[in-house]
């Protein structure tokens, strides 16, 4: 299936006088994707974001939102159809949290009852107590205000969300919590999100794809795995060594599965086909009729026999799921003192194994 492109920038530049603040940036964001823009301070992330909803007009290039050139759209309508979480939270201090959340709905003149219902719904969505609706922004902590900022952007149920360092003003623990909540929320709301940050860990954590900017240029675009494999010196310095561990957090075990293993069904005889698959692998896996893994037996135990001795079969280590992160898998291996783990689908099918080796070769490329 070809994914629909929701937002597209074609060689977009922004000049302030002689200053080229954004330089020929091209990118596209697919429907339901979280695209992260990251780069050092002043590299043009916010400017790029604001050109999408035309808070800043671009100097050259084309910006398409749902296939339409933004310069041909009414800017007010365009902005009302795109949720926007601004860099400095920007809650309206004179309004209650309820009125802040429903601000777009008020602009669009929705009826009062609907506004009230939506405010209740959204405050819960972002994990704040309903009683906060009657408070004013100054009565909330920075992290709580950021949640309200997200709720406000979601009010009109826009398909596209622009989030400019939405979790910038909070401590690392709250930040991580907000990131996880965003990911959980995204599973149900499936928005197209452009997310600006200057925190690489955050980028790896939330980004389906990541674009790295430097001095107004987009220097690379790719998944977390693509990015950690980059050889470019600026990019390597920018992401930093520690970030690899955050990248591991975002790569699913499915990517590192070894599935060309010798597998036999319980009771069946070992044939040469199976044995030829062993290579330098010393175990053979035994599955039942439903392809559930019963255990494994090492080649040395078989000693040329064609029949497997049930007694000698060892049970598998606790399995992991294909959706588990590599980080989790590696932790399990280290914790359980294992060199590999079986991967089992939700339905219980044996899919293969992941090993330290397969994880490493994935990252090194």
């Amino acid at each position: 299936m070809v994914e629909a492109i929701e937002v597209e920038l074609q060689s977009v530049s922004k000049f302030y006088g002689e200053d080229k603040v954004v330089d020929a940036v091209s990118l596209h964001v697919n429907q339901g994707e979280i695209f992260v823009l990251i780069g050092p301070s002043g590299c043009g992330k916010t400017t790029t974001l604001k050109m999408i909803n035309q808070l800043i007009p671009h100097t050259s290039g084309r910006i398409l939102v749902r296939g339409k050139d933004v310069t041909e759209l009414d800017p007010v309508e365009l902005r009302r159809s795109i949720g926007y979480v601004i860099q400095y939270i920007g809650l309206l201090p004179h309004l209650t949290i309820r009125d802040n959340i429903t601000f777009v709905l008020q602009l669009k003149k929705y009826n009062k009852k609907m506004q009230r219902e939506r405010a209740m719904e959204l405050i819960e969505t972002v994990g704040l107590p309903v009683s906060y609706l009657d408070r004013h922004p100054r009565e909330l902590s920075g992290g709580q205000q950021q949640r309200v900022g997200v709720a406000r952007a979601l009010a009109a149920d826009p398909e596209i969300l622009l989030m400019d360092e939405p979790f910038g003003a909070v401590d690392p623990i709250t930040r991580e919590q907000l990131q996880l909540e965003l990911l959980r929320l995204q599973e149900t709301i499936k928005k197209t999100i452009i997310f600006v940050t200057h925190d690489m860990q955050e980028a790896f954590k939330v980004g389906d794809r990541i674009g790295i900017m430097r001095g107004g240029r987009l220097v690379t675009i790719g998944t977390a795995m693509d990015i950690v494999r980059e050889r470019d010196e600026f990019i390597r310095n920018f992401i930093g060594q520690g970030a690899i561990f955050s990248a591991l957090d975002t790569i699913p075990a499915a990517r590192a599965i070894i599935d060309d293993l010798p597998i036999v069904q319980e009771g069946a005889a070992l044939d040469d086909d199976v044995l030829s698959l062993t290579g330098d692998w010393e175990n053979i896996f035994i599955v039942d009729g439903q392809r559930r893994c019963l255990g494994y037996i090492s080649l040395s135990e078989i000693k040329g026999q064609r029949k497997i001795d049930r007694e000698k079969v060892t049970a598998c280590p606790p399995p992991c799921r294909p959706g588990d992160s590599l980080k989790k898998v590696i932790e399990e291996m280290l914790w359980g003192n294992r060199a590999w783990l079986p991967v089992v689908s939700e339905e219980g099918y044996f899919l293969g194994i992941v090993s330290f080796q397969s994880c490493a070769s994935l990252l090194v490329g």
């Binding site: 601004i86 309206l92 602009l107 406000r152």
Partner: protein, 217 residues
């Protein structure tokens, strides 16, 4: 001393009807000046807040008018507006301009840019931005300007007596010419009371409006 105070009160009681009438006259002159000044200066303040190039010029102009002595303004207007309430209210309006204009303009200009950007980013039109964000957020600053003007105006209204507009100034000026301290006091005390009362009233209204618009809780 006590005797004097007693004498003053009995005098005051004697002329209470006259004082009441002059106070009412004073009040309406003052209110008309403040109202006209506010109604002209607030829109002008909004207008110049959008145009940084001319805003300081306009404010300086209002500042220059503000420094002209009140007697001089009344004198200048005499050939055009003659005597009575018209030149008085006109002068009061002119004096209201500077504080209200300046506070409206700076109040709007100083609204947190993040709040403005958030509103625009959510698709507020420029009118919606003005009425839902800028004016409510600048409201306390604008009100402070209006309150300053109110107190000031009650004082300046006294000068209206010199151009036959009436008001408590007539008691004061007659008192001065007759060197009658009781009469001067009978005019001065209600002026001060009026200024304080008007300021309190506006403060009360500001609070009410603040709760209503959400500026104060």
């Amino acid at each position: 001393m006590l005797e004097n105070i007693g004498l003053f009160f009995s005098y005051f009681w004697e002329i209470r009807a006259q004082v009441a009438e002059l106070t009412l006259q004073h009040l309406w002159l003052s209110l008309a000046g403040v109202l006209l000044g506010t109604l002209t200066a607030v829109p002008l303040g909004i207008f110049i807040s959008r145009r940084p190039k001319i805003s300081s010029f306009v404010i300086d102009l209002a500042g220059a008018l503000y420094t002209i002595p009140s007697l001089a303004i009344l004198g200048f207007m005499l050939p055009f507006l003659g005597l009575g309430w018209l030149p008085t209210i006109t002068a009061l309006t002119i004096y209201s301009w500077l504080p209200v204009l300046r506070n409206t303009c700076t109040g709007i200009v100083n609204v947190d840019p993040a709040a403005k950007e958030a509103a625009l980013g959510m698709g507020a039109t420029s009118n919606q931005l003005l009425f839902r964000v800028e004016l409510p957020m600048a409201f306390p600053v604008i009100m402070a300007g209006i309150r300053t003007v109110a107190v000031l105006t009650v004082g300046i209204t006294t000068m209206g007596a010199l151009v036959a507009a009436g008001g408590l100034g007539s008691l004061i000026f007659t008192g001065i010419s007759m060197m009658d301290n009781r009469m001067i006091l009978a005019g001065t005390i209600p002026v001060s009371a009026l200024a304080v009362a008007l300021d309190q009233l506006l403060g009360f209204l500001e609070n009410k409006a603040g709760v209503w618009t959400g500026v104060r809780s």
